[in-house]
């Protein structure tokens, strides 16, 4: 009856993995997937996406994440206005610091734009063109973002930069 359901079920583990890499929190990740699937099913009823279903779903998850992230940032700025503090909501745990030499730990320290692009390219094997369509940017922009992400991952894995925040700024 719902032809898309089986395809969605098959893709669910990938969507959850992507959402986890964005939110870094299993509960929030499943919330994100749930909200994205609601959106996807709503949109599916009206218009079926062209091309790869997986890329279309990644795009929905990512946009939902960005929306939430933006409103979170707004609240965070309000907080800083009142308290004058940089209340970072993601402080690496001691465990993360200990295993910082692994690629995964380095990955988790990257900004979300870079995590998304690395996961799409290297883990999911999406074509650059598909990513350009997800992000709605030219393919050259995808390439330069990918290049920055790779270099950042490399540097963090090598321990060349422990954290950009630790640099002394004068």
């Amino acid at each position: 009856m719902h032809g898309i359901d089986d395809q969605l079920r098959e893709l669910l583990p990938r969507l959850r993995r992507f959402a986890q890499s964005l939110t870094r929190n299993p509960t929030s990740a499943d919330d994100l997937v749930q909200a994205s699937l609601e959106k996807a099913l709503g949109a599916w009823a009206g218009k079926q996406p062209d091309g790869d279903l997986r890329a279309w779903l990644f795009a929905i998850v990512y946009r939902q994440f960005l929306d939430a992230h933006r409103s979170a940032s707004r609240y965070k700025r309000v907080l800083e206005l009142f308290t004058g503090s940089q209340d970072d909501h993601y402080a690496p745990s001691a465990e993360r610091t200990v295993v910082a030499q692994t690629t995964l730990a380095a990955f988790e320290r990257l900004p979300h734009e870079q995590r998304a692009i690395l996961l799409w390219v290297t883990v999911e094997g999406l074509r650059y063109q598909e990513i350009a369509e997800i992000l709605n940017v030219p393919i050259g922009t995808v390439m330069s973002r990918l290049s920055r992400a790779r270099q950042a991952l490399r540097q963090l894995s090598d321990g060349e930069i422990t954290s950009p925040a630790l640099r002394v700024l004068k």
């Binding site: 299993p26 929030s28 690395l118």
Partner: protein
Amino acid sequence: MNDLPPTEHDLHAYVDRQLNEADRDRVARYLSANPELAEQVRAWQHDAQHLRAALSGALHLTPNPQLDPAAIRHNRRRQRGRQWATAAALFVAVSLGSVGGWHARTVNLASHMLPMADALQAYRMFALKDGMANDWTLATSTDAQSWLDRHFARADRIPDLAGAGFTPVGGRMISTEQGAAAMLVYQDANGRKVSFYIRPPGPQHYLLDRGARRDGELQADYWSSDEYNYALVAPADDPAVEPVRRGLGRAI
């Protein structure tokens, strides 16, 4: 053979196997003649392999029945317009200033969330921080119980965890969809932290059977009185916390 040096674009596409055969051969030839560049490309390839291996485990999460398309369709009919954005504000703490020692913190919770998810979130957001802004501390003139009683008229007595080595060190008010909540943080001599969390059951008067659930590295033990929901949040696998849970069973 006079190959042009590959562009950076070519090198990435080589790593990602997105070149056609002729270009792939061209880049491979160039790399074999330029060991320094080849080393860089090899490092990228290794990073990619490590990342694939590291993230492969995340494909085998425990199934979540709420994410099944059939369940989503059902929910879509039932509750329209629920915004992920509100759930995502879990990450967010909003201060409305410190007038009268009251720090309002917004912890938005989607209604479908697991029992006492806000207690776990509060522990992660605030308790783990050494510089947690407190509404109650040891320096406050009243004790923790009086502080709590001021906000929760008919609350249970706070658990006495001294037998397990944990004493109250700080408390703060948090605002949730269900109303004002409070978290009291206990600490032991080694700096381990557990939290006691109390909030009203919300408009639906949703009371909890006694239970426990694990969420990542944490465990929440929860229960309800006639008036409030409670949770004790602590590291799940730390043996030093076991006496706390045992003590809790006797205390309530």
